[in-house]
Symmetry: C2
Subunit: 453 residues, 2 copies
């Protein structure tokens, strides 16, 4: 049995422990939601204040040159490139993930239309993050293509001669299950299919090597594991083999070859710059720069490989402690146990399914309520109530509603190795044990649905 003292000892031995000091973690909080919104780096308030008061307030319009605003999307993009196996000049930090996905999917569709016009399908995963599916659905409607949604185990079989593009999120937002990017990309390419990867839950969370994987297109999020702040700009990467070949229709002036000549006709810039559209939110971009710096600071401590080792140790510990200390409470595990298939989060469910098997020792005693009923079809579930009870205790995870398919309501816990420690894991599980054993989660105040959870 792992003890509280064991966890304290693990923190003391952790070579990454000092990185936690790069963040302002609120007192009394165990923050297991960095997969939704990363913690604020300690350096961010001063940097943002300087961007506002000096760069904007004093230097005003001259900051576009003097303070390098003009090249910020590329400069921050170059830093992100180091985290995802991309080269300098291959990434821009810009717009939102949804909008960047629209750009790369458009470019991939233009490319497929030129190279393989008979291919009319885009394949994705049914449980992909919905905005990715919405954007793909919109583009399919415009391009006369078909969006085919499959379960993960059916992806290989779906890669036929009718398929133009395989669009996947590397780490599933709901279950934390991770695809083998190298193998899946190779399988797609073997069938002549382009790959588009959404790295929202993997950039800064797990090692990614887009170059080694020979991926075609990728997008990702700035405000999760990159700690860029709420709604931070996202990023976009295109394999240099393709960048200059294909056009995307969000063809605004910032993607023009010579934007300040103000010519009436569009000529795309060389390279990834053509994936820019309009002026970017500089203040939010400055915060993103600070966030990315926290990950680059880990390079001196082993970088993404060391972060990954710690992440797996944290998620392994969480699973083991839940099994040991929350036995008999009916908790099921929606996240794969196999390391190579797991991102940096662990998802639990109170609703058993083949895809969320009961944890060891967790079958509940007869008569345990497993559902409070769900008026209005949403959210008043056991998982929701447990998450609310934990938040009231300062353990911040989140809840995701069932998708009407194989995935039931879940409790989602993200483990950001930059700032989460082993004792945090102990304390989180201890709170979970108390919430479950006391029945505290059944209090009425924990069963109200908020707009965002």
């Amino acid at each position: 049995m792992t003890t509280h003292q064991d966890c304290i000892a693990l923190d003391a031995q952790d070579p990454l422990r000092s990185l936690r000091n790069l963040f302002n973690i609120p007192a009394g909080t165990i923050y297991l939601d960095g997969n939704s919104l990363g913690v604020m780096p300690a350096a961010t308030p001063a940097r943002v204040a300087d961007t506002v008061a000096r760069e904007w307030g004093t230097d005003l319009i001259q900051s576009w040159n003097k303070n390098g605003w003009f090249a910020m999307p590329q400069r921050v993009g170059d830093k992100i490139a180091r985290l995802i196996g991309a080269g300098a000049g291959e990434v821009v930090a810009t717009d939102s993930t949804s909008i960047n996905l629209f750009k790369v999917l458009s470019a991939a569709m233009n490319m497929a239309a030129a190279d393989a016009p008979q291919r009319k399908q885009i394949v994705s995963e049914r449980s992909n993050f919905p905005t990715d599916l919405y954007i793909a659905e919109a583009l399919c409607k415009q391009h006369g293509m078909e969006l085919v949604l499959v379960e993960p185990e059916d992806i290989a079989a779906s890669l036929t001669a009718n398929v133009a593009i395989l669009m996947l999120t590397h780490v599933n937002y709901r279950t934390g299950a991770m695809h083998d990017m190298v193998a899946v990309t190779a399988a797609a390419h073997a069938e002549g299919i382009l790959t588009v990867w959404d790295l929202a839950h993997s950039a800064g969370a797990v090692p990614v090597d887009l170059t080694a994987a020979k991926a075609d297109f990728a997008v990702g999020c700035g405000y999760k594991y990159l700690n860029g702040g709420p709604g931070a700009p996202a990023f976009v990467w295109v394999n240099p083999l393709h960048t200059d070949r294909f056009w995307q229709p969000l063809a605004g002036w910032w993607g023009h070859a010579t934007p300040f000549e103000f010519t009436p006709d569009y000529r795309p810039a060389a390279g990834i710059t053509r994936y820019q559209c309009g002026t970017q939110p500089i203040i939010s971009l400055a915060a993103l720069d600070c966030g990315v710096d926290t990950l680059l600071a880990a390079e001196a401590h082993g970088g993404m490989a060391a972060l990954r080792a710690k992440s797996l140790a944290l998620t392994d510990l969480f699973i083991a402690l839940v099994e040991e200390r929350c036995a008999g409470q009916g908790l099921c595990l929606a996240t794969p146990r196999i390391h190579a298939q797991r991102g940096s989060q662990v998802c639990l469910s109170m609703d058993r399914s083949p895809h969320a098997p009961p944890l060891r020792g967790s079958l509940p005693p007869a008569g345990t309520p497993t559902d409070l009923g769900r008026p209005g079809g949403g959210g008043d579930s056991v998982a929701y109530a447990i998450v609310q009870a934990l938040i009231a205790r300062g353990v911040i995870g989140d809840y995701r509603a069932g998708d009407g398919g194989r995935h039931k309501d879940i409790l989602r816990f993200g483990f950001t190795p930059l700032y989460i420690g082993f004792e945090d894991v102990w304390n989180a599980v201890e709170h979970l044990r108390q919430v479950l054993e006391s029945g505290e989660w059944q209090r009425p105040e924990f069963n109200k649905k908020h707009a965002v959870t």
Copy 2:
């Protein structure tokens, strides 16, 4: 002749003078570039610091509900609505102007395809801001339509039965010329044509009444006259008659009817919310909120009508003083003298054309150089050099290169009535006079082209 004392007296009588205190204007600066990047409001640093340190740093993910992040695009949009004659719930502050233009133009094209499929043209102005033309060009390419570019005097004649959409920028970015939105919209509607208005240089600068004009779609910029900070989110409005009828393809999760049910199929939200796509940059959005508040503060002093009266007084004064004090320097006026045709800026040129006639008394003595030569095709012009010499003296205007058509290189001066005074105008003209009379602009350091000017 107007004197320096007259200008001081005009400031003393100005009922809007106190609004200047809402801004931090750098000492020694006369900032005539609020049409490119508005000055920082005094309230912004504290508001941004609070958004970063308390809302993000302390409240973290709970801020989406607790601090109202979720509804910020609508809340700020409702404030902007008051400045442009739109109703509450009709505007969202989101994404960039280019991207919002893509959304409304897509919706307008879908609407035209349903209602009048034989109409295959979009008409715009050749000297419209280029990003608008690039976005329209991209969409025309996708939809099998044609972008027809005309000079402003030819717009009326171009409104034929082949035209689906008339897309115009209300106030021209280069000349400050303003369209009569009511008359032009009525003329378009009389021919069965939809109107899309870009308010980048009019929202917060001149009175706009989209409802009275019966306009169909509009977008605008947050970082010019709205003082929202560098790259602040833009805004989008759709006439309530059309909002729910038509779909736009940037169909991300934030525009979904129930984004947190995470359903795999897209169902657009009711109303303007369907013009949202992904998560917005909250820190930059907080700054925009402060910027818009400075305009709402003017409501107690007569609002946009009072700001307009002062703006015209400032631009009239600037023109008159340049005529009086910069005689013989060859300056031409690219901005209309007629009030109803003028935005809140004045543009001068050293290159005479029918569209930039010489100012009274400004014909230069024989032998005055009118061009330094333009190596590399761009920017090393007299206008550029004069702007640089003025900037070195703390008078911040900007330079815009000729467009190869009727518009020559210009010196552009924006007059933001919230914070520019009559003595500022006097001083700016006095610096201009000295720069021209001394030949200071011919110094080599003023003839180097920067990336952004």
